[in-house]
């Protein structure tokens, strides 16, 4: 048993912290207002190798550190990286070729039909983030009772309608109908399991990062804001919240890393689901309490906690 980061993990963490302070912290605010990730962030992510975290199978522990650190400053960027990696990992596990930037759509009423040797997918609605930065889609399907992955060019989605989601606003969601478009089916149970493990790990890591960012923001604000002649942090009820937030942020991080460091894919998958549940509970709790500590200021874009609050709730819908 060892709860310390490896040297490689520490280097990765420090690298992302430098990137975050230099670029992400500011771009996160601007992206949130605009409602989409800016292209220069995506270029930089590729330069830093962060879009290759799942190449050659990847290392979940390494990826968890990266996604968590990114999410502490920008949940949307972390989600983008994680979704791309989940798709890449699923493709790698199926032994096929990657070579695209992926995103993961959410369909409702997805049905598949075979026609003239092709697989046609239809869905009454879909919601997809980051479509402007991805040229391919990967998503899980069931065909003749068998689990598999589907892959398609983002063009299959046809005409989409952009919308600004609740939180992770920079995700630049789009929506529409899918009407019998050709998709490529590949991979088996194991590929789906790899894909799902990475996808849920992403939610867990991003939520854990949001929990930590919220906890830090709320604690700092409480230590500075004076009401009734004392810093908020001198009131016992505030201290209890500060303690609970710290506990929840730690719990999210620890279970995330425990899940990411497990060997054995099936075990991984189960513990990763546990990690995502714990992390979402933590992100919801920490962002809520921290916003409340900010009072009216927390309800405005003047403080980052306003964004964290929306991010946490958007993640709960994506879990």
């Amino acid at each position: 048993m060892d709860f310390a980061l490896t040297e490689d993990q520490k280097m990765l963490r420090d690298m992302i912290q430098r990137f975050s302070e230099a670029q992400l912290q500011a771009s996160a605010v601007a992206d949130d207002k605009l409602g989409r990730l800016n292209a220069s962030t995506v270029v930089k992510l590729r330069e830093l190798g962060l879009l290759g975290l799942a190449d050659d199978g990847g290392d979940l522990g390494f990826a968890a550190v990266a996604l968590y650190e990114l999410a502490r400053h920008d949940a949307a960027t972390a989600l983008f990286v994680g979704q791309h990696c989940a798709a890449s990992a699923g493709i790698a596990a199926a032994g096929t070729d990657a070579g695209a930037t992926f995103t993961v759509p959410v369909f409702e009423d997805l049905t598949l039909e075979k026609e003239a040797g092709e697989i046609l997918a239809s869905a009454s609605t879909f919601v997809v983030p980051f479509l402007d930065h991805a040229n391919a889609l990967v998503f899980p399907v069931r065909l003749s009772g068998r689990a598999a992955l589907a892959r398609a060019s983002s063009h299959v989605l046809g005409e989409t309608q952009p919308f600004r989601g609740l939180g992770v606003c920079a995700a630049a969601f789009e929506k529409g109908r899918l009407g019998g478009e050709v998709v490529e089916i590949f991979g088996d149970d194991e590929a789906v399991l790899v894909f799902e493990t990475w996808r849920i790990l992403t939610v867990a890591a991003v939520a854990a990062g949001v929990a930590r960012a919220s906890q830090e923001a709320g604690t700092l604000y409480a230590s500075e804001r004076v009401q009734f002649g004392k810093a908020l942090s001198e009131f016992q009820a505030t201290q209890f919240k500060i303690a609970n937030m710290a506990l929840r942020a730690d719990a999210a991080w620890l279970v995330l890393m425990r899940a990411a460091n497990r060997t054995g894919l099936n075990d991984n998958n189960r513990m990763v689901k546990t990690a995502s549940m714990v992390a979402i509970t933590s992100a919801l709790y920490c962002s809520d309490e921290a916003l409340q500590l900010h009072g009216g200021y927390g309800y405005t874009s003047e403080y980052a906690i306003e964004r964290y609050y929306r991010d946490a709730r958007a993640l709960s819908a994506l879990a």
Partner: protein, 361 residues
């Protein structure tokens, strides 16, 4: 005991429902997107008497009482929380003038209820004094027949559009020097800040105000010098019934959307009904002239917490589709969050309640 709405309550509800259907709900999404103050909706509310539900008919109010007021706010908030909060503040200010005002103040009420003024503003909070109202810095100095008002106010709802400001400031240095003034927003020396970029309720207007040696007549004084804190606390008691009702309207709407989406909500419904009953009680007590401070705090605390819980649960249960503004709940979730902050944070409500419970031991 009797928990049924009577015909006055139903009639008032009906007035609100008609406007909700015809003008408040239809434009809500667009006003939100454009950060557009709901002038049309407010004018329609005034025309229906809903900008002074508990204001006497002689001042242009509906005179329908507090339960009816709560019902109307619930209905309006379900259609658009931003319109509801503006309506609430106007009703609150009008009631304060009716309760404490001298002749010059009473004359203003019809302008507030008729729509001549689109709203009134309640100017209590300051940048450094939110929960801690007694820490306020704004000052009004007597100079002959006038007061000279200086200071900063924050989080002022409708500040850019208000026909009247109810402003709190200290007169002198005594501990009990906080006083209330009825101020003309067009006076020289008043600067209106740019609107706050809020998480939700974008169609409501929230600004900072700066008062720089603003000369106001001594008739601007509401009640007496030093009565301000008491006036503010009494106003907030009633105001909390308004915000509690707004929160319940938000929760009702979230439940309606969840029902449409086929989600299970029994557990959520239960707490919303608890909140509604708590609000009815506070409203009935106010109407019955029974002290209702604690009951209003309980209603406001539970309704606002429940509204947020309901929106959050609906988002989590609906999944990704809940992120789509067309689903509707994401706006409600953003709108709801501030109900736990304004008109006294949840923490302040808990302090009010526990103080009373312990005193009664």
């Amino acid at each position: 005991m009797n928990f049924e709405l009577n015909s006055t309550h139903f009639d008032t509800r009906q007035r609100a429902q008609e406007l909700a259907g015809s003008i408040i709900r239809p434009g809500a999404r667009q006003r939100e997107a454009n950060h557009e103050f709901p002038l049309d909706a407010l004018a329609a509310l005034a025309k229906s008497g809903l900008m002074g539900v508990n204001v006497k008919p002689e001042y242009g109010g509906l005179g329908a009482g507090v339960v009816a007021y709560s019902e109307a706010v619930q209905v309006v908030a379900a259609a658009d929380p931003a319109v509801a909060v503006t309506m609430c503040v106007n009703n609150m200010v009008a009631e304060v003038l009716q309760e404490f005002g001298g002749p010059t103040h009473l004359e203003m009420i019809p302008k507030m209820t008729s729509g001549e003024w689109s709203s009134g503003s309640f100017c209590l909070s300051e940048p450094g004094s939110g929960s801690d109202a007694a820490a306020m810095q704004a000052r009004a100095e007597r100079r002959g027949d006038t007061f000279v008002l200086s200071g900063s106010k924050a989080w002022i709802t409708s500040g850019e559009y208000a026909g009247v400001f109810l402003v709190w400031a200290r007169v002198g240095d005594a501990k009990n020097s906080i006083s209330a003034f009825v101020v003309d927003p067009t006076l020289p020396g008043i600067t209106i800040g740019k609107p706050e970029e809020k998480m939700g309720q974008h169609a409501s207007n929230t600004v900072a105000l700066a008062f720089d040696e603003v000369v106001i007549p001594d008739t601007a004084l509401l009640a007496d010098v030093g009565d301000g804190f008491r006036v503010a606390m009494m106003a907030l008691d009633g105001g909390r019934i308004g915000i509690a009702s707004q929160a319940i309207g938000i929760a009702d709407e979230a439940l309606r959307l969840a029902d449409l989406a086929g989600l299970v909500t029994d557990d959520l419904v239960a707490e919303v009904e608890a909140a509604r009953t708590l609000v009815w009680r506070a409203a009935w007590m106010k109407e019955s002239k029974i002290p209702f401070t604690v009951e209003a705090s309980m209603a406001k605390l539970h309704a606002s917490e429940t509204a947020c819980n309901v929106c959050e649960a609906v988002v989590a249960r609906a999944g990704a589709r809940a992120l789509d503004p067309d689903f509707g709940v994401e706006k409600l979730l953003r709108d709801a969050r501030v109900t736990r902050i304004y008109e006294g944070t949840s923490e302040i409500q808990r302090i009010v309640i526990s103080r009373d419970v312990l005193r009664r031991l």
